[in-house]
């Protein structure tokens, strides 16, 4: 039986608030605590957590614990693990919920070992079935969905973003129980030197965009006139991204080319790759262009709700139940018109 639920969260990059995914995990934790009649604690990690703690002061959590200070401000496996361990032990948590942020995905699986517990990541939902907590996640890169439970406790569950309503309540004045954690020298062997981001004009990955725009290798292939038109492709794609605010994804074939020859769509990197060995982004809509829609690519579209594709080939993968609409057309022509329309205000 689950008695103590702990919601673990870290501060966002601003160092003030909580990441969106943490609000969603808290939403799930509040709901679960009610269903299981369990007590809920919140454990925060970061530099100065007061503002974040205040924002969840009315969530119904019995305890608001924190490991804070400059040693814990930045993501680092060794320090995050020590902080999380101290919070879990103080809360005597048997079920630990946390957002699947890059920071926590890099550290909380290790926590399971320290607590002699179990961990599961990329959870898309948590349900109580016949009194038992059941988690859902995808296996084989979004090809098979599994629902499972574990008897071992503590059980750590990292929830993917976009899978639960975020907690939303009025802020208040939180009374924080600070847990002191001393960082040994072995935990300081790594230091964080900052974040490297593409220049703002080539920042093409926008996780919060309403639309994912996918470019495939067709953009750089020979066209009906017998030539390839990479410059035109580049200007059409970038023009569309600017006008629509969409996030840019690419097929493996296209990003691999970019890696080998920077002249081909220079703004495409492996970080843009969608699919089996790329990302599985979450956006309400997705538009695929010049991409064949092969299975290793389309598994990356699992969390794209509405899907449309433009392809010259009426028998491409998208035609086979993978898109809602397939436009059999030349993407160069269509995207030029789309860009024109987006520039002109619609009547």
């Amino acid at each position: 039986m689950t008695k103590n639920i702990l919601l673990l969260a870290h501060l966002d990059e601003s160092g003030n608030g909580l990441p969106k995914a943490a609000g969603e995990a808290l939403g799930a934790a509040v709901e679960l605590a009610k269903q299981l009649n369990a007590s809920l604690s919140i454990g925060l990690i970061g530099g100065d957590v007061q503002a974040a703690a205040d924002s969840v002061a009315n969530s119904g959590a019995q305890r608001l614990l924190a490991v804070m200070g400059s040693d814990f401000a930045q993501p680092r496996f060794a320090s995050d693990l020590l902080a999380a361990e101290a919070l879990c032990r103080t809360a005597s948590a048997d079920l630990i919920l946390a957002p699947a942020t890059s920071r926590f995905l890099r550290a909380l699986p290790g926590l399971a070992h320290r607590l002699n517990g179990r961990v599961d990541t990329h959870i898309t939902s948590i349900q109580v079935v016949d009194g038992a907590v059941c988690a859902t996640r995808w296996f084989y890169r979004q090809r098979i969905e599994g629902v499972f439970q574990r008897d071992a406790r503590p059980w750590i569950l990292l929830l993917d973003s976009g899978c639960h309503e975020a907690y939303c309540g009025p802020s208040g004045k939180a009374a924080i129980e600070e847990i002191a954690v001393a960082l040994p020298s072995e935990a300081r062997r790594t230091t964080i030197a900052g974040i490297r981001a593409p220049k703002s004009d080539s920042q093409t990955i926008r996780p919060d965009a309403a639309l994912l725009f996918v470019a495939g290798a067709g953009w750089t292939k020979k066209q009906p006139d017998g030539k390839s038109h990479p410059e035109q492709a580049e200007s059409l794609i970038l023009g569309f991204l600017r006008a629509s605010g969409a996030s840019l994804g690419g097929s493996k074939s296209l990003v691999d080319q970019s890696g080998e020859n920077q002249a081909v769509l220079g703004f495409m990197t492996h970080l843009n790759q969608v699919g089996q060995t790329g990302a599985t982004p979450r956006h309400p809509k997705g538009l695929s262009t010049c991409c064949h829609g092969e299975e290793p690519h389309v598994v990356g579209w699992r969390f794209i709700n509405e899907r449309r594709a433009i392809n010259l080939d009426p028998n491409c993968g998208w035609a086979r139940g993978k898109a809602d609409v397939l436009y059999v057309a030349d993407a160069f022509e269509v995207m030029a018109k789309v860009n024109d329309l987006l520039k002109k205000p619609q009547s």
Partner: protein, 270 residues
């Protein structure tokens, strides 16, 4: 660095991503239909880790690379036929399940044990490599648990770049949200790196490397111990393929202008 690194890469075999996967129920839990008949590949992100390991070893004299792999012996043999031609390594095979439904905790225990039993492994020079997520479980759990079992406190995931600094420290780029990288500096080994794609192309097949590797790989496969992961209390209620198959509307006879209007209307619809 004097004497180089001891790089242990953990990587298993997974079904070729072009295959259709169908789950079935077995008394031991879910499994893939015809799993043993599906062609297999080395887990893609682990393969990147292996290529990065070989590249790093080539630039640090005295280094050595091991590939520790838990999988069905027949599948390991099949995959080694190609992988062994790419880069030099010593295989440490464990004959056991590589299923995505097998528990990461039990898998990590077996792999950690295998690493601890490698003769001549210098743990002070150890760099533990693997994929940041597998193509089977896709959880990013196994490597961290192995690292914990081996007492490695410097761990990095989603690694795209590892650069050795003149003083022997590492500069590491890890993937974070929004297509960016976190840059870290680590004093040196021992450390763990869960690789994403990295920067290296897949090495071409080199039959000479293949022959040299296979001389040790075949006997290692013959000697491979069969391991049964400790039964864990993970209980599956269901395992099913996605239900949604879309009814694709195929639009063939519209002009580019008409399609563009339809697309813009769709994009702008809330």
């Amino acid at each position: 660095m004097s004497n180089g690194y001891h790089i242990v890469v953990c990587g298993s075999v997974v079904p070729d991503p072009l295959q259709t996967l169908e789950p079935i129920e077995t008394p031991a839990g879910p499994a893939l239909k015809n799993e043993m008949l599906l062609p297999a590949v080395l887990d893609p992100w682990a393969a990147h880790a292996l290529y990065e390991a070989a590249n790093l070893a080539a630039h640090a004299a005295g280094s050595k690379v091991w590939l520790v792999s838990l999988g069905a012996k027949a599948k390991l043999r099949q995959v080694m036929m190609t992988i062994a031609q790419k880069v030099s390594f010593e295989l440490v095979p464990i004959d056991g399940p590589a299923s995505g439904f097998a528990d990461a905790h039990a898998t990590a225990a077996l792999l950690a044990e295998a690493i601890q039993s490698i003769t001549g492994l210098d743990r002070s020079r150890l760099l533990l490599f693997g994929g940041w997520e597998s193509a089977s479980r896709g959880a990013g759990v196994t490597m961290q648990l192995i690292g914990e079992r081996l007492g490695i406190l410097d761990q990095f995931q989603g690694v795209d770049q590892l650069r050795v600094q003149p003083d022997g420290a590492f500069e590491i780029l890890e993937r974070i949200e929004g297509g960016r990288h976190q840059v870290s500096l680590c004093q040196g080994p021992p450390a763990l790196f869960g690789w994403a794609t990295g920067n290296l192309p897949e090495p071409r097949n080199n039959p000479q490397i293949g022959m040299a590797n296979m001389r040790a790989i075949m006997p290692a496969l013959q000697r491979a111990k069969t391991a049964a992961p400790a039964p864990d209390a993970i209980r599956y209620r269901s395992a099913s393929p996605p239900k949604q198959q879309r009814q694709t509307r195929i639009v063939k006879n519209l002009s580019a202008e008409e399609i563009a209007r339809e697309i813009v209307a769709w994009i702008e619809k809330a």
